[in-house]
């Protein structure tokens, strides 16, 4: 399931709902991305996330489909927020549910790694030096590359 929203979400509620009614599921792995208060040496007072409505949902659905293709998953959840957020706020939740932990844990890492490089979101941060757009990180592309070897 994919959701792109301005509002916050409740992690406990979301994870419970993901596994509810399916007792085949033996494990749920999750990752929560939060707004940090530092960027390099600069203090960050707020972060504004912008996205490309339409393409965002399409790319997230593709990532979800790819995770299902690679691992035996019973459920996948991606929630990504947009708008102005402050340090400590939740940005993203990804979760994968499977009968066994290996698939759930691997799929969870895959989901966030692919999301970072494929989902059309952009961040601008408010710092004492003014507002600036966040640049992409080579580390994120490297993290995605580890998944180019298909386990199947």
């Amino acid at each position: 399931m994919i959701r792109v929203q301005r509002e916050d979400f409740d992690v406990g509620t979301e994870l419970e709902r993901l596994a509810a009614g399916n007792s085949r599921i033996g494990g749920v792995a999750s990752f929560i991305g939060l707004v940090r208060d530092m960027s390099g040496d600069d203090r960050v007072s707020a972060l504004t996330l912008e996205h490309y409505p339409g393409m965002t949902e399409k790319k997230l659905a593709e990532i979800e489909t790819e995770a299902h293709r690679r691992w035996p998953l019973d459920a996948v959840l991606i929630i990504h927020r947009y708008g102005r957020l402050v340090p400590g706020d939740r940005i993203v939740l990804v979760a994968a549910a499977s009968p066994h932990r290996e698939a759930a844990l691997a799929a969870c890492q895959f989901l966030i790694d692919w999301l970072k490089t494929d989902a059309p979101f952009w961040k601008s941060e408010e710092t004492p030096a003014g507002e600036r757009w966040v640049g992409s990180r080579a580390e994120d592309e490297a993290a995605k590359q580890r998944w180019t070897t298909d386990p199947k």
Binding site: E50, Y52, V92, K116, D118, A119
Partner: protein
């Protein structure tokens, strides 16, 4: 065709989207970016460095050689930074 500008490209160009007719002689993404550069200093500045410009045609990431056609939705934006 519809052109969409996102993140700092929107700020430099000074508009979020516009409807245009396919410019004469433009056949692919590279041609469209050349045409954009000719439209003024904001555009030229925004698409000057192609190492920080990405393009989607009809919501798919594409390369410079990808064809563009009347009716396409074409988005121009910097490398993504979500998550």
């Amino acid at each position: 065709m519809k052109l969409i500008y996102l993140a700092w490209l929107r700020a430099r160009i000074g508009c979020a989207e516009e409807e245009i007719d396919l410019p004469p002689g433009v056949k692919d993404v590279a041609g469209l970016l050349d045409w954009l550069r000719s439209r003024g200093s904001g555009y030229a500045e925004a698409v000057r460095d192609l190492s920080v410009v990405r393009v989607a045609v009809n919501q798919n990431y594409v390369g410079l050689e990808h064809p563009v056609r009347e009716g396409d939705e074409i988005a121009v934006f910097p490398p993504v930074t979500g998550g």
